[in-house]
């Protein structure tokens, strides 16, 4: 299970966000470059069609592959009240033969995208990962070198934290309180709920980017 929220930020404010995150998290940023392939099964394989995401981490000298299955989200009145999406998710490292395997099983490539950005991983009540990335699409199949952003002026911010069905309330609380710190720059919401940009983003970014001299009392 994981808790996840998403938000958007204008590309011009990304650097300010990085500074803010650096201060909040206390760890260094890690670069991110992930080629994500989304495979869907054909209808007659199983009862319902399923979707699998294969993530290839291109940042490492040796590309590593991960397989990810995103399941259903928590539903109900309680789920509506919390501001974070809690959903089932399975993830595992796999060898590079995973793509072949899934093709052999009958999965077809549905779409692919390339994420380029950075990520912060830290512990603050829960193991939280903040990813700021620009989502790129490939005009030609698998041509990751010629990827163009889907939305050039806007980047995606994703905050996730793994959870289990026993402790997800604490994880949700930890994530919510962390997200409040990011309020001057962006709003985070459940995936699928659009937020828009925050009006104070420009001012907040400016203050973060400045050298921060104080006024004498």
């Amino acid at each position: 299970m994981e808790c996840v929220v998403q938000g958007i930020i204008e590309t011009k404010h990304v650097e300010a966000l990085e500074i803010l995150l650096q201060g909040l998290c206390g760890v260094h940023r890690e670069s991110l470059r992930v080629h994500e392939l989304c495979l869907k099964s054909v209808p007659n394989l199983g009862l319902v069609s399923s979707e699998i995401r294969l993530l290839c981490d291109l940042e490492q000298p040796e590309p590593t592959w991960t397989v990810r299955h995103v399941g259903g989200a928590l539903r109900g009145a309680g789920a509506d009240q919390i501001s974070v999406l809690v959903r089932n998710m399975m993830e595992s490292k796999v060898s590079k033969n995973a793509l072949r395997l899934f093709y052999a099983l009958g999965y077809k490539l549905d779409h692919e995208l390339l994420r380029v950005g950075f990520t912060f991983q830290f512990h603050r009540g829960a193991q939280i990962t903040v990813t700021v990335s620009s989502v790129n699409k490939m005009l030609k199949l698998h041509s990751t070198d010629e990827a163009v952003p889907v939305t050039p002026g806007i980047q995606l911010v994703e905050v996730t934290a793994p959870a289990s069905s026993e402790n997800y309330t604490e994880v949700v609380a930890a994530m919510s309180s962390f997200c409040e710190y990011l309020a001057p720059l962006l709003h985070l919401s459940k995936p699928g709920v659009s937020t828009g940009v925050v009006p104070t983003a420009a001012a907040a970014a400016a203050s973060l980017m400045s050298d921060g001299g104080g006024t004498a009392l």
């Binding site: 093709y103 199949l141 889907v150 939305t151 009392l217």
Partner: protein, 547 residues
């Protein structure tokens, strides 16, 4: 008892030298310690007297008078109860801890009861008192209290003013930084644009909208990035996977084209016939196109319920055949050969370099019976397989046709039928060719003999044509079952003795066949027409029979 004792002691100990602390007079009166003490003592005496009586009774082993004993007990009980009740009324004024004296607190009780502080604590206390009441200790207590109060007020005032100053400074600080304190708003037009972009982005990330490429763009034209190079390595077929939903319906041609990508052109030229495929070692065949098994046709065996009309619609699962399917390959091949022979029966020409051997006799052995079957099958499958033929297929066809130039006219079927067969079989042949990989032609012949399985081939031959139609779409010869079934269903030809002979002569079959030049074949035509056996071995047997 202990509570009473404690209370008594507390009352008695209120006599420190300096300050005399007395119990509140009202409480004291109500408590009436003296009377409580008297009552407690009398109760104590009564209980001890009763205990003595019990002692005497126990010693003399007399039977106690229970009524008397119970009466004494109830009296004592009642007295105690009264005392406790009286004390309870006033015990609210006291807090006693511990309630009972027992082993654990017996040693500490004296310390707890003492009102003098421990030496070190006393020293600390004095120091602090000195600090606080600096110079004030002479004054009476009231004055000291007053002075302390004023001190507290002064400190409070100082704190408040400090907070005020900090708040003012903060406001000033942020005021200069942020300009007007109004919340900045986002321009509406801009907001709309941003909203639109945001929706694009979110839907792209979460659902993949806007990222899907139409099928025709899904061919890997440019070079693959590093991480995909060895994953998608030699497989061009992977490109077709997004479209391979069409593989089911279209059947042969996509398979053929994809297989064609893998096959080696030279092989096609040389081998031409089905031999190539069967002769090729399965390892070579299966090596690169392991992906092609995405066509997960459920049809594996001809005997399955689908094996009727649907066989043609469903391509057999694999183009590649694992080693254990070699036999199936053979049979399929045989069928192909027969079909080709049928097609080309009217054509005369030079013999195929490597194909010739088995194909010719098979053609000759066609009977009308088989042909009719064939024809009917043809009608069914004509639609399916009259698809645009690739160059390879054409090549195959040409080769086959040239092979048929051996000139067997015995089987005179309509040209239309032949053409149909041609169209129909050559895709199959090409499929077989394509799937076959690297086996050079020279290997085909000896391998042919190896591929001749046992007697079961013969009956298959008869039905091979009809059966072959069904399995055409894929060279997968997993039709052994089917063949057997078909053969059995159709009734076995009288082949028992032939089978035996077949077995004996399998190894040399092709060798002998190769000797069957057109003349020999022609000479064998007549006798062979009696049966529908197309097996080369069979033909040889015939020869032998004749001889």
């Amino acid at each position: 008892m202990a509570a009473m004792e404690g209370v008594t002691m507390a009352g008695a100990q209120d006599q420190p030298p300096k300050v005399v602390e007395r119990l509140n007079p009202a409480v004291q009166q109500q408590l009436n310690l003296d009377s409580v003490k008297t009552r407690a003592i009398s109760l104590f005496k009564a209980i001890s007297r009763i205990l003595e009586e019990f002692d005497v009774i126990a010693r003399t082993n007399a039977v106690p008078k229970w009524q008397y004993v119970l009466g004494q007990f109830s009296m004592v009980n009642l007295e105690l109860y009264n005392i406790v009740e009286d004390i309870k009324n006033v015990s609210k004024a006291f807090v006693v801890h511990p309630k009972n004296v027992n082993a654990e607190n017996a040693t500490i009780l004296p310390v707890m009861l003492s009102s003098k502080l421990l030496p070190e604590i006393e020293v600390e206390d004095n120091v602090k008192r000195e600090q606080l009441l600096h110079g004030m200790q002479i004054l009476p207590v009231a004055a000291q209290i007053e002075k302390l109060k004023t001190r507290i007020d002064m400190i409070g005032a100082a704190c408040e003013s400090a907070e005020k100053i900090i708040a003012d400074a903060r406001k000033a600080y942020f005021g200069t930084r942020q300009g007007p304190t109004l919340l900045p708003t986002v321009d509406k037009v801009q907001a709309a644009k941003i909203q639109e972009q945001e929706n694009l982005l979110r839907s792209a990330v979460n659902h993949g909208e806007g990222l899907r490429m139409p099928g025709d763009q899904r061919q890997v034209t440019s070079s693959l990035p590093m991480h995909l190079v060895d994953v998608l390595a030699t497989n061009d077929t992977t490109q077709t996977f997004p479209d391979s939903s069409g593989m089911y319906q279209k059947g042969t041609p996509p398979l053929l084209t994809t297989a064609g990508n893998n096959s080696q052109g030279s092989l096609l030229q040389v081998s031409g016939a089905q031999f190539g495929r069967a002769a090729a070692s399965p390892s070579g065949a299966t090596g690169s196109t392991s992906f092609d098994n995405t066509t997960a046709s459920p049809l594996q065996y001809a005997n399955s319920p689908r094996s009727g009309a649907n066989i043609m619609n469903m391509p057999s699962p694999q183009q590649q055949q694992p080693q254990q399917l070699q036999q199936h390959q053979q049979q399929q091949r045989q069928k192909m050969m027969q079909q080709q022979l049928l097609n080309q029966q009217q054509l005369r020409g030079s013999s195929m370099p490597s194909l010739g051997q088995s194909q010719l006799p098979q053609l000759h052995d066609m009977t009308s019976q088989a042909q009719q079957k064939f024809q009917s099958m043809q009608g069914q499958h004509h639609v399916q397989f009259s698809q645009p033929l690739s160059a390879q297929q054409l090549q195959g066809r040409q080769l086959a046709s040239s092979a048929m130039h051996m000139g067997q006219n015995q089987l005179n079927q309509g040209n239309q039928l032949n053409r149909q067969l041609n169209q129909f079989s050559s895709p199959a042949n090409s499929a077989i060719f394509n799937a076959a990989q690297t086996t050079p032609a020279s290997q085909m012949i000896p391998n042919m003999s190896a591929m001749m399985p046992s007697q079961s081939i013969l009956p298959r031959m008869q039905f091979g044509i009809s059966g072959g139609n069904r399995t055409l779409p894929a060279p997968s010869l997993s039709d052994q079952m089917y063949n057997m079934g078909a053969a059995n269903a159709g009734g076995m030809m009288p082949i028992q003795q032939q089978q035996q002979q077949q077995q004996q002569q399998q190894q040399g079959a092709f060798g002998n066949m190769s000797q069957n030049t057109p003349q020999n074949i022609q000479s064998n035509m007549l006798p062979m027409q009696n049966t529908s056996q197309n097996h080369p071995n069979f033909q040889q047997q015939r020869q032998q029979n004749q001889q």
